[in-house]
Symmetry: C2
């Protein structure tokens, strides 16, 4: 495997240098992006400057015949948080990039002109084209153009207008199996960094390339088979997620009183039934979409789906639980068609659905539009896409929106919006939000599993006890899983089923000829977290930043009327390993 | 002396409680604001929340017959920087408030309604009136209304629309001897905190009150006489400042190559002669204004002036050097009438002239309007005053403006805009910008004196050597001076003339019956800095925040073609005392 470095600021235009993995041998996915960023990016640099690097890395097992290995990690210093960032997406690019032989693409430097570039990589090598006609193009139109130009065997990594405008809520889009830009590295404004490098799209075509070959093909095949069985047997990965998708959580989290509503003012939303996964699945079936669909080749969970509009025409992929929540309950909106349209608009303009929903919730708190105003929220999204001044505010996320409008209740940690679980009614996820190296991020240590879903054990969500240890263990495991290229949803099965966890280890060992034990896997996760923490520390982050906004400690949340009760001193123990 | 605490969030409306100084005995001005904020405000609170407090404190010698004692300190947790903040202003309120017997007014809590309050204090006590008819009023109109209502013996402390809108660049206006709102606690967004307390104005009338009486009136009179002689004898305080005001620096700093131009791209501006103090004085004389005028009773330096427009009508007070620079050279504008109008607009809307000029410079860098576009800059100020979306961006300062428009070169430290001296060509002030407890602030340790003016010694401005010690000593002395109520400009004389420094000490000792030595004065300064640093540390600030933006270290500044060269390790030694 090779690393392709592209210096977009070189004299005479972008310059490509390829090398082996060298000191980064053994790293993949998040491990590799965080290793490169922490070693090579000055922690005090401006995230939009030449000093920052955008690292795009498939996981250790991406590009193999292994199931669930289609996740890609995109890392940099985040313009949203100022921390190190790994933003993770599904779709096709991870598999294709890995099969092309690349462990990472690293975009470096800053162009001296305002040209916009397209990077095309296939079996014959890399071509970088200047194409200023693509300026301002939304993701769907862009991908259509790329298809016309490069054929339909491609996978695209691209930014929309938000990334070009270097907005801190800008995402990077990855195309799915239908060559639609629906899977996003959403969090942390990675799209703004790609925009600052003036790269509109990376187009990948692995035609003529073979699957990556394991060291021990037989063992690998065997382990993969067991692994897939494990996923199929577990109720979450085998039944819940395929049938109703991630939004099956809406009713569950609402019932638990942890569904943040009206900008985190209450834990239950009266309109939940109308925006639940069950409702989504029903509508998708009725309108000729699909409630069960994978986002990349090799997915056996297939938690996604296809959402059609009222006329039976494709509108967007099945909106994820967090996207539905952010632009639904959080904004007091119960119109699922409006939410699906917002999902499409975010994908098309290239925006993080979570950050946008929370920013709009803050704007609602400021009185810009009333809570519940679905058409108003849609209009705001268009303001962002057009880059109006209001759009510039919202498109830079909840923290900037709060600052612009003088709002006190702004649910962010390290500048990043809190996702779809109220930390007061799910203390474990609150510990993750507060302490994650990434800013508030549910995927960094998904304690909802134990707090509410009772997967991998049970820890009472309303009490502080046991949450620090829970979040710590999850954050460690997650850092390791995010490096494999595997979808994080495998965690449900490997947490509950030791034999499925072992099968995953066997896959890694058979592929690389390693002898990883469960402890080695844990150590790998710890090593990644330590690199990330160390970068953040050099960037000026301290324990005082590992805190939820004060209002979570003083405002109690109905219906349980609880505040967040984990003591600061305990939060400081999360990384004591 | 008493402390008046007003809980604006009390049931049934604001509630007043008065007490003695208690544990704060011996503190005044900045010492008192920083003591109260550091002890009473939770460092993790939102600056616009009920937990924050706005502390308004005249200095130790304010309200006496002592010369130069008319400075007021306004402290809180800053919405601009997130640090502790003391913002310092001239004008009449310090003297009047002290004569009314108050060492401080503390605004606490947060109203439950959206009512707007006026606080009126005279010899008979305090009255708090609800007056929603004042909403949105600019400072000049507001003061006019207060005059009609309360007579012309008053002094006002007020906010304009920017403070009501809780913008992070909002100032607090203090009226001058002509009862005009021209002297501002400009920095750090203190106006937003007053806005969050929903206090539009504090109106003070000391009619019937006497001067504060020294313990030893004879000694005090004698010391004051010597002090005044010292000020009159020094070339800066006796000649330069009275004749040409602070903007006499324009030619000097430009000549030194330290005059930041076009958003800190070069150190000399081709239009400097047209916006210099000499030009200002000439115009002021020609048009019937005045180049020599004090901002408060008891001022013997009289560095201010009165600026008339082309029709000979009052427009604004003589714009200060920093205001002229920020909205002049920094924006490539050499039209002094436009700059004076911007000065008036900032005073009227209630905005920090420095933060606004730098924010507009960043907007120019983003291409919103071109550099040099004076009418464009005026229009932008009106956007802020009207609270349009663009105005919401600019009115929240340079950092938010940079974020909104994806600009990399944003000259701020701890979120506060750098003032009028480029740190690359005046390394001492760079150390102050980087390390001050307040964010970038020239007044916190004015090394320009030794770097360029050769007052109080000489330290080569282009080299890193000696700058840390210089800044350290100045920051300590400044913290102490800012507590006396004395204007910082006395520093020119007391740095050069030991007998003038001794006279100042004698004034304090004669007034309070103390026995302060020079060392005691230094220890007092250190004590204040330590409280401030400790608050900031608990708020999450570390040595990594005591840094200039990276571009000052890598981009060299013409004409000297220098970068900022003080090593990080040396910056970390500033507070090693």
């Amino acid at each position: 495997m090779k690393i392709m470095r592209i210096d977009v600021g070189a004299n005479g235009g972008p310059k490509v240098v390829e090398s082996g993995l060298g000191e980064y041998e053994g790293f993949g996915g998040r491990g590799l992006t965080s290793a490169i960023v922490s070693r090579e990016v000055p922690p005090d640099c401006h995230p939009l400057s030449a000093d920052n690097k955008l690292v795009i890395a498939p996981g250790l097992l991406s590009g193999t015949t292994g199931a669930m290995t289609g996740r890609i990690s995109i890392g940099c210093k985040s313009p949203l948080t100022g921390t190190i960032k790994e933003s993770n997406a599904g779709g096709q690019p991870a598999q294709v990039l890995a099969r092309l032989g690349y462990a990472a693409i690293v975009l470096e430097g800053k162009p001296k002109t305002d040209d916009l570039y397209v990077i095309y990589i296939n079996k014959d090598g890399v071509k970088i084209e200047t194409d200023n006609s693509l300026k301002g193009l939304a993701n769907y139109d862009l991908v259509e153009k790329m298809k016309q130009r490069y054929g339909d065997k491609i996978a695209c990594i691209s930014i929309g207008p938000a990334g070009e405008m270097k907005m801190s809520a800008a995402s990077i889009a990855c195309t799915d199996m239908e060559l639609r830009p629906t899977r996003h590295a959403g969090r942390g404004g990675v799209g703004a960094v790609m925009g600052s490098k003036q790269v509109k799209a990376i187009v990948l075509d692995d035609t003529g390339m073979r699957m990556r070959e394991p060291k021990d093909p037989e063992k690998f095949r065997e382990a993969n088979k067991k692994f897939v069985e494990g996923l199929r047997n577990h109720p979450v990965t085998g039944k819940g997620l395929p049938a109703y998708g991630t939004d099956s959580l809406a009713n569950i989290i609402n019932e638990a009183g942890a569904y943040p509503t009206y900008n985190f003012k209450q834990g239950r939303f009266e309109g939940t039934a109308k925006i639940s996964g069950e409702e989504l699945a029903k509508i998708e079936k009725e309108r000729g979409g699909s409630p069960t669909h994978g986002c990349h080749r090799g997915c056996v969970i297939r938690c996604s789906g296809i959402f059609h509009d009222k006329n039976g025409k494709y509108l967007t992929k099945q909106p994820e639980y967090e996207a539905v929540w952010a632009n639904g309950a959080n904004c007091g909106i119960d119109d699922i068609d409006a939410i699906a349209l917002i999902d499409f608009l975010c994908d098309n303009y290239g925006l993080d659905t979570i950050e946008m929903g929370v920013a709009i919730g803050v704007a609602m708190e400021a009185g810009i539009i009333p809570f519940g105003d679905a058409q108003g929220a849609i209009n705001l999204l268009h303001e962002v896409g057009k880059g109006t001044h209001l759009g510039r505010i919202l498109g830079n996320g909840a923290a900037v929106t709060g600052k612009a409008f003088g709002v006190e209740r702004v649910p962010v940690v390290k500048g990043q919006a809190l996702p779809a679980y109220d930390p007061r009614a799910a203390h474990g996820i609150g510990v993750t939000y507060a302490t994650s190296t990434m800013g508030a991020d549910h995927t960094a240590g998904y304690a909802i599993a134990q707090n509410i879903l009772k997967v991998g054990g049970y820890v009472d969500p309303l009490k502080p006890e046991g949450q620090v240890e829970l979040s710590r263990n999850l954050q460690i495991a997650t850092a390791a899983i995010d490096s494999t290229g595997m979808c994080l949803f495998i965690a449900f099965a490997i947490l509950d089923q030791p034999e499925t966890f072992q099968a995953m280890l066997d896959m890694i060992n058979a592929f690389y000829g390693w002898n990883w034990t469960a402890d080695d896997f844990t150590e790998y996760g710890k090593k990644i977290l330590k690199m990330e923490r160390e970068f953040n520390s050099r960037a000026g982050f301290t324990k005082e930043h590992d805190r939820l906004p004060r209002f979570f400690k003083v405002e109690s949340l109905p219906p349980h009327n609880v505040t967040f009760q984990v003591a600061d001193e305990d939060l400081d123990k999360v990384f004591a390993f």
